[in-house]
Amino acid sequence: MTRSRSPRPRRRPTTPAAAAVLATALLAALTACSSDAPADAPAASGQNAGHSAGQKGDSGDKPSKFFDRVEYDRQLTLSGLTPKGPAAKPWEQMLEPKMTDTARYRKKGEGDDVDLCFSNAGVFNPWRQVGLKNMKAEAELHDEIDDFTVLDAQGKDDKQISDIQELAGNKDCDALIVSPNTTATLTPAVKEACGKLPVIVFDRGVETDCAVTFINPIGGYGYGAVAADFLVDEVEPKGKILALRISPGVDVLETRWSAAKLAFDKSELDVVDVKFTDGDPAKTKSVVSDAISRHGSIDGVWMDSGATAVAAVEAFEDSGADVPPITGEDQQDFLEAWKDKKLTAIAPTYPTFQWRTPVIAALRILRGERVPEEWKLPQPTVTEANLDDYLQDGMPPLHYAMCGCQKLPGFPGAWGGKK
């Protein structure tokens, strides 16, 4: 994951004695500031999970306080359903849609130009980079879109709140798309905007259903369960599993882990370590090497996000061990390593094609067409069988294959790829 770091000395340096404080603060910052986790992030949850994971049969149905049984069951059900809509365009598909009427948002006068506005949480990692490119290209497809305004909150809640206020109060915005930075903090701003114009929320949610539609894929439970079930199938009973997580306290990631933990608890696999990597390849490599040497061997690697999967693979290579079954994500470098090194792997996805859907939804809403209240998109998985369909040569290492962007204008150059 990329992050655009911008440490700023907020306070004027005061006393030289603060030097020692500096050193500590830095160190603390190294681990603590590595995410934009919500303020209520339970830092110890990962550790608890780690310790209890090894003990079989305990709290099998309550892996973490983030675990929501109903939502878990729902997502697993959704994973098994066939979505409605064109199979070739998964970004237009929907799972179990409950359609809502949007006639009151119909723009007066057919053929009028549409001005779309988008408040983005930020573009601080490759997943969001690819997503934003998808969205901009989607907007280019529609001639009726006269203007597409994007405000980048740079990962800051306060900036996004003022961005949303600015866009909602702007007469030029016909509809507002929001990808919230954090859930709770952005809720009031979204509520306020809902009173002024049609709002479309996607990617992460807010605690209000005032938006016309909320667009997201199946979700974290589906993701985590797919990866864990793969390991349960591929790794011999009693095998040692290393679970790598980015950081604690982020709901999408917590749900992935809690679903995986449930699957591991039911299995005969032994989760020997649950480690946080901060999404940093160098740290991932160190963590995996340490785990290999501590446990003698590792028989399977589960990851809550595949951005550092290649680093994990290299850690096995560098220590002279065979790469065990591993889970990753649809990131280009991992798919390439998978193919080149003939890994036993699977890649559940959080597809970046979901960035196309809000634009489509906004246009439908402004035409007064019905859209789902909650637009659940499919969440395909890259497997051995379909790897070649998704792996496209010439794309940059941090590209996401599930971009649904292959036929968009500017592909592949705009996504950094070569013909």
Partner: protein, 368 residues
């Protein structure tokens, strides 16, 4: 070093001779004594936690992992001991890795030696800029290098859009990943060579003027030291060290737009752990490098102990404060209190450079 004469003290001075070995030892270790103690404790703790830790392969792998930080700490020492700061090294590492990836993206056949040399040169250029801005324009180095860090990070982000496009070929990654003679990691070799060079450098005239400059800029100036030139050179060397670290980090973990994240702070922490006075004028580079090893040993130990998440930073914080506190304590002053008041002899070196920073939470989204 006067160590030899002290231990071979004449017999009639027995009372003094009894304490001489202690003093000699203390003088040799200097202000770094606490860090050596800490390092030993950490290495023993590692041995206790994981009996296999000292198998040659594993220990070398540990050193390999520490190598970039050790090199950065050596460079940072040069800057800190002459009274300045270099906060830009992490960004130089990131920029180096990304630049190499981008260049390889367009010129896949570029020879690795040329690429490495180019990076070292670019690192030197960034250091030169830091040094000139700090000394000629008299911008505090804290601000200069912070600005450089932001400029480089912004440039990398602008250039790559957050996802670097190229990839690093195997031969370029060899220095950070592979071994020489089948057992010695190249990174360890690079680390040892860089360490020895810097240690020799600090014992040269340049090293002494560097410390003198940090101790008292005015005194050094009056004594004929070209203060500006010395400082600029320190920044240049720090930039080169950062570029070398970039080669090692890029080799170790591959393309990443966050390769150098936090390295500037780790390097400063390592130097501080090594008992080097912030503000300059005191401390040894070997101790600073030992500080880097200690930090890496601490990280490894915490990992092996299964300390995770926020608790990890808490433990780190406690240990660092303790170590720095011990290292900064001026015990001789305590002893002097027992004596009748007199004119102050050697004032403890005052850390002159502002050193407090506030690191904001990364606007990093851990969600894919």
């Amino acid at each position: 070093m006067s160590t030899g004469t002290a231990t071979n003290a004449a017999p009639e001075r027995t009372t003094k001779a009894a304490t001489a070995p202690y003093r000699a030892l203390a003088r040799t270790l200097g202000t770094g004594a606490p860090v050596y103690a800490l390092l030993i404790v950490l290495l023993l703790a590692l041995a206790a936690t994981d009996p296999g830790f000292y198998e040659p392969d594993r220990f070398l792998a540990f050193v390999k992992r520490a190598a970039p930080l050790v090199i950065l700490a050596a460079g940072q020492y040069l800057v800190i001991v002459c009274g300045e700061f270099d906060l830009s090294v992490g960004a130089i590492v990131t920029a180096g890795v990304v630049a190499a990836a981008e260049v390889y993206g367009t010129h896949p056949g570029a020879p690795w030696a040329l690429m490495t040399a180019g990076l070292l040169l670019a690192g030197a250029a960034a250091g030169l800029l830091n040094g000139l801005i700090t000394t000629v324009l008299r911008v505090p180095s804290f601000i200069t290098t912070l600005g450089m860090m932001l400029i480089l990070e912004g440039a990398v982000f602008y250039w790559t859009g957050g996802s670097p496009q190229g990839r690093l070929p195997e031969d370029f990654r060899r220095l950070g990943r592979d071994t020489a003679f089948g057992w010695l990691p190249w990174a360890v070799l690079a680390c040892v060579v860089a360490g020895v060079l810097v240690a020799l450098l600090t014992r040269s005239d340049f090293g002494r003027t560097l410390v003198a400059t940090g101790d008292s800029e005015r005194a050094a100036h009056l004594a004929g030291v070209r203060v500006r030139r010395v400082r600029v050179l320190a920044f240049v060397l720090s930039g080169v060290a950062a570029a070398l670290a970039a080669v090692l980090v890029g080799g170790f973990s591959g393309v990443s737009a966050q390769a150098g994240r936090g390295y500037e702070f780790e390097a400063i922490t390592a130097v501080v752990l090594g008992g080097v006075a912030l503000g300059g004028g005191r401390g040894s580079v070997v101790a600073a490098m030992a500080g880097a090893f200690s930090l890496q040993a601490l990280f490894t130990l915490l990992n092996l102990q299964g300390v995770s998440g926020a608790l990890e930073s808490t433990v780190q914080g406690v240990i660092v404060i303790t170590a720095v506190g011990l290292g900064a304590a001026d015990f001789s002053r305590l002893r002097r209190r027992g004596h009748p008041p007199g004119p102050p002899t050697a004032a403890p070196p005052a850390p002159a450079t502002p050193s407090r920073t506030h690191r904001e939470g990364h606007p990093h989204d851990p969600q894919p």
